[in-house]
Amino acid sequence: MRFIHIADVHLGAQPDAGTAYSSGRAQEIWDSFSRVISLCEEEKTDLLLIAGDLFHRQPLLRELKEVNYLFSTLSHTQVVLIAGNHDYIKKGSYYRTFQWCENVHPLFGSEMGYVMLKEYDLAVYGLSYHTREIREERYSIKAPLAAAHEILLAHGGDEKHIPIRKEILESSGFDYIALGHIHKPQAVIRNMALYAGALEPVDRNDTGGHGFVRGEITENGVNVEFIPFASREYIHLALRVNEKMTNGSVKNHIQSTIESRGTQNIYKFILRGYRDADVEFDTEHMDIYGNILEIEDQTRAAYNYEELYEQNRDNLIGKFIEQFQGYEEDSMEYQALQEGVQALLENCLR
């Protein structure tokens, strides 16, 4: 039995993706979802698991119709889905009344329910969010052993969204636990409990690769692998500058970095280290490909405060530095120290 496990598709989300890509980003998420469905059809995948947050907010009827159409193109694949905290089943939700096509098996109850796929002697268990938050450990259960193979479809894993405990999942008896909610793909238990992660990154902090989990349940157990699939990636990069660097060299460095890591990706750069005290980085004008969300300038002017203090112990510079002793480098006060010293040194008369 071969399956594909996706989660956190967030259809309808419009993530910030830089000037070049933001406007088309919402459609790209739909396209990506559509590509997964095509892939299922192509590979004749037996089971598609959708572990919650298929939609970013409450689904509209027309959106459900679109999704259902895509599901209807599957000639072989059975689909099991649950609702997560984003598309939770509130009063009046279309999830309550929508008529899905035959191969789709929603587990929309607020209590644990299951769907039996006799063909594979497989039962898939799951529940859906009917509120934005669920703080109880709803997944501390044992597999009921109603079929030869049993899968748990689950959503959550933090304090406000069904906390999970690894050791409990480990001894639960499920063959596979398909997790959703956390956007970064990761294995909680190797080959047994995995977060597929968001199919496409949906937030500027969803860094790293995104895609889905492909797996197989055989006589010999479960085998899964992560398949990178997203069309873009958010990349955060720290760039260490030195005293020799200027606006031009930083810009060039950023450009070549983007070129080598892919112009399709979306970037945030953090400039760190010590810059020449006379150089100020004009980060507004370094977005060559329109795919930089932010350049955060955390550089410090290359001052040696101790030395400066020793040299100016008795004058204004020294008296100023004196007031800032013992602050951490990332504190607001340290920033004030640096700005002040810079202003003072820029205004030396001799």
């Binding site: 309808g12 907010r57 409450q58 689904p59 509209l60 009827l61 027309r62 009063k91 009046g92 939700s93 279309y94 932010e294 955060e296 040299q311 100016n312 112990r313 008795d314 004058n315 204004l316 510079i317 008296k319 100023f320 004196e322 007031q323 800032f324 607001m332 006060e333 920033q335 004030a336 120290l337 700005e339 002040g340 810079q342 202003a343 003072l344 040194l345 820029e346 205004n347 030396c348 008369l349 001799r350």
Partner: protein, 539 residues
Amino acid sequence: MENMVIKELYIKNFGKFSNRQFLLKDGIQIFYGENEYGKSTIYAFIKAMLFGLERGRGRAAQNDEFSRYEPWENPNYYAGVMRFTSGGKTFRLERSFDRYTKSALLICEDDGEELSIEDGDLEMLLGGMTKESFENTIAVGQLLARPGQELAEELKNYAANYYETGSSTVDLGGALETLQNRRKSVEQEIKGLIDRQEEKKEIVRQECRYVTNDAQRLQTELEVNQEKLQKLRLVQKEESQDKKAEDVENIRGRNVVEEAGPGADTDNAKSWIALGGLGIAAGIAGRIWSAFTSSQGVFSGGAISVLAWIFLGIGILLVCLGGIKWLRGRRDGRKYQEPVQEKTVVELRPQTRTELQRLEWENDRIKAEFKEKQIRFQNLQEQLSELDMPGGKLKSLRTSAQALKLAEEKLLEASRNMTQGFGKLLNKKASHILEQITQGRYTKLLVDEQLNMTLFEDGRRIPIDRVSCGTIEQVYFALRMAAAEMLCEDPLPIIFDDAFAFYDEKRLKSTLKWLSEQQRQVIIFTCQKREQEILSRIV
């Protein structure tokens, strides 16, 4: 100490003088001359040699120094030479002021090296003293030689750097301005960011308005449809005498934002109450009957008795539930409009029936669309509230603005501390000088940041405007000398231009005595002979 001593003035052509040479010695040098002698011209010549003589522009040019001392004869030849020693070397300073041959030359006579005035070599020899500070300290003019307000600024700036040990001198005002400009630009960036966020929100709000409009349009459509339905039902009523109609739900009066949930079960509740009433009646009847048929205890009336108890129980339960349901229904009914509920009919004309059906489908379509709008509206509201949360960039910008503000405050605080120290020292020095020249009459002089002065006599506070002109002059003198001492490390010549007119004999004597003790050249221009006389008695 690198005393500067003016050795020679050679006036080539300046004011009333041409080709005049004056030789000066170290120590106190007195230029005596009657009125119109040309003392002020010499004084102006020294200033012009040290700091240049710029020609004013426009109307101001008519009475500026340049015009005043433009040579009486041959004005195109407007020049002079000054020789002075500084740091053990002799320098020759040549200047030409006229508009065509304007030039300046500084040569070290010991090694013949030419120095660059443009690069600030002369400024360095003058210990960084500017024309303004020169006039505010060591160049003491005629009458009421109150130092200008610029001295206050200069002292403040200087105060901030007073304890300097060497590496750098800072322009406090400039540094503060830099910080303020930085903060302004950060605040501008914050504003830009908020504006952009607001634009995004406005787009969402606009969409909300569209959705609301659509919902309202749908509602009107529904009302129209409803009316048609009602009319058709009237027709239908006439067609069949049975007055029964279709279930129609009215969504009028319901807000888009509110959850759906009309109270449709009041009828249901009524039937429950009715059923419950029936049960109670049956139970009581059963009980009465079993009481008649049996004389035994209450709980042993046989099967009928048990049944009667059950009927009674269920009856009461149903009445209660029905009551609760009915009450809730009524409450909901106030919130939402009471649904119109009528029963269906069978026999109708075919065209009426199709029309009725069409209208009902239309009703369903409108309601479905309305719900879609409702959900869309809620989603947009959610999006709007998410947009209210400040992003990381905004947070870091706010921190920067905060840091810049703090830097400003701390810088001011640091300078205030230093000014206080400086002020104390200035007061101490000025008080000491004043005490000496007033022979101990005034022991204390307090000067604040704005150069407001207060005198103390035997611990009594005396406002400066209560004392005589002569004393005021002496107070200014003390302040000037104290400031000069603090502002300029290398002593420059002190120049007095008829500055002692208000001094009495005693005070003049002690002033000259004090001056003679200074390690400075002192140049005194006077139209009286008493300075010379007193000085000869002291020395």
